[in-house]
Symmetry: C2
Subunit: 334 residues, 2 copies
DNA sequence: GAGTATTACGTAAACGTTTACGTTACGCAT
DNA sequence: ATGCGTAACGTAAACGTTTACGTAATACTC
């Protein structure tokens, strides 16, 4: 139905080669033919077929993005960074979810392979051996954002969760907190769970505070997990004066349950979050949190992938500096 | 580099037609050849090339999604609905942002055209005449989610903003509020601004309350807009006992500024939001809001588009019922 | 045992491009 | 006049599939 290059060639009385040349303006034709071809092209409502193009050029100008199926503001920022950058460089992004707990990860990668994406960005999903194999077998540049593997050769871009957690807890200690809980990290998650928990523990130890495992309420990174953690603290009658959360949403869960129980933040209890996602501005009180520069990570990660595609260069792993954003959810204990 | 159907054919000693047949299992071959072909296929690490496939089949099994470049939880839910459904039906989604105020809308559509997406979903971006033309000129099924045009023939799926707003304000009135502010809608936005404002006004009028234009603080749908609206109410010394917000984020802005000024929600002032996005659960207090079923809208919208692709049927516009979700941000005036 | 269906393939064109290579015509220097 | 360079094209193959059509062999019918 849609007009093709052949149609233009026929109507304009030139060869398809010439049409292709003027459309991609490669030169090698005079002005008259250019005008003519352009005119016919408009007239027929021609629109180039990227698929056909990709076929011969062996590159699709497309980058794939795989992310978990949870929808949090967290991912929105990263995605935006990715999309902005890819747009700038003339790439399209094709998006897929990895399913809960990465259940769809293999299909996702397979799909990306069949679509012949030029590069791949994987956000926040934990990759096991077989997934890594699928990934490398694609033979295209890729980067992991906010996740990593235990293999040296898979490039990633993330903050150092251990020291970010350490920073947050240290901050609480410096504000005279001595009974500090932790909420929301899954200790079996080697990427974002375990290191944050270790950072928490180490900070306590370095300041001579004994780690009390009862003060660690593990769970997921979501709001509900924060709520039930706080519920547990209350039921335990734990004397926590502060809690460090594995994500901003967890922190909001803590705050929410506090509110329900008429515990005031930060007067009765201090809270620090993790991510500096949009919700951290919006909470009451505004949340003190350790910042991951999500948008920039998306941007830079995407840039790295595109650079690797174009220069056939290797992508180096990169640890992004974190930063503590101080707002109003922490109070000094007197 | 990657193995093709031809490689398989050569190694397996059959024709490409046969390889194609077994790979797409269309029948017409005996078990032995099937085994053979499959074996060789695995051996060579064959992966089909969707682009080549698309070229001859004249369909890409791809659906395009265009959304604004603002990143809110709002879009996350819709996207998830879309991606889940398209995955179920074997479609891939290619995503693009329309840029601020739709500045990239033409490029976006053009891109979708060049990629030959089979269907298109446009979320929340306002479409002017020329954009509608680009859209229809693609000649593919499409649907607008959470937006519409003034033309009858562009199918959309959205809640009735007018009556949703009416419902919300009526709820406030029934709780004895008489001085009700409105925050965050842009009156020049004919899709989501004007109707919500009209619903607000009409509800007041129907209950014999005079509309006071000073109580309408227009703006965007974001957090900051809510903050400055509340700031304005305070500076005006307006005696509002409640404010109806054009989005949940605006509502959180209101609450945030209230908090800073030691105005208590809902004791001093009641707030109702709009969207029922994830943040509405997380606020303190939890937000009473009018719900748009975002995930379902994404799901259903995507389903409609796929159905239209496959049956060549027409998509009907659909008004989604709204619902008031009562939480804790509204108090009865005594 | 002649005719007919059916099974199991193979051949080759087609999808819409790009691009290496060839060709023509002209301009210009010698 | 000869040679050469170059601008402005055209020819045709190639990219990796699908699929209409043809064909050979076998099975079945009466």
């Amino acid at each position: 139905m849609a007009a093709t290059i052949k149609d233009i060639a026929r109507v304009a009385g030139v060869s398809t080669a010439t049409v292709s040349r003027v459309i991609n303006n490669l030169g090698g034709y005079n002005e008259e033919t250019e005008k003519k071809v352009m005119a016919v092209s408009k007239e027929l409502g021609y629109r180039k077929n990227e698929n056909a193009r990709s076929l011969v050029q062996k590159s699709t100008n497309t980058i794939g993005v795989i992310m978990p199926d949870v929808t949090t503001a967290f991912y929105g920022d990263i995605i935006k960074g990715i999309e902005d950058t890819s747009y700038e460089y003339g790439y399209s992004v094709i998006l897929t979810h990895a399913g809960s707990h990465g259940s769809r990860i293999h299909e996702s990668m397979n799909l990306m392979g069949e679509r012949r994406v030029d590069g791949l960005i994987i956000v926040s999903v934990e990759l096991h051996e077989s997934a890594i194999q699928s990934l490398t077998s694609l033979g295209i540049p890729y980067i992991l954002i906010s996740t990593k593997t235990d293999r040296e050769d898979t490039p990633y871009m993330k903050v150092d969760d251990y020291s970010a957690a350490y920073t947050a807890v240290k901050y609480l200690i410096e504000h005279n907190h001595r009974t500090i809980g932790m909420a929301g990290a899954n200790p079996h998650d080697p990427i974002a769970g375990e290191p944050r928990m270790n950072g928490y523990k180490q900070a306590l130890q370095d300041y001579g505070i004994k780690v009390d495992l009862n003060l660690i309420k593990s769970g997921g990174f979501n709001f509900e997990s924060g709520k039930s953690a706080m519920q547990a603290f209350i039921e335990d009658e734990a004397a926590v004066t502060a809690v460090f959360c594995a994500s901003d949403e967890v922190a909001l869960g803590i705050i929410s349950t506090c509110y329900e129980n008429e515990i005031h933040v930060p007067n009765d209890i201090s809270v620090v979050g993790y991510d500096n996602s949009k919700v951290s501005h919006m909470s009451v009180p505004p949340l003190t949190t350790v910042a991951q520069p999500l948008y920039d990570m998306g941007r830079e990660g995407c840039f790295e992938v595109i650079a690797a595609i174009q220069n056939k260069s290797k992508i180096e792993s990169k640890v992004i500096p974190h930063e503590l954003v101080v707002r109003k959810s922490v109070k000094t204990v007197v």
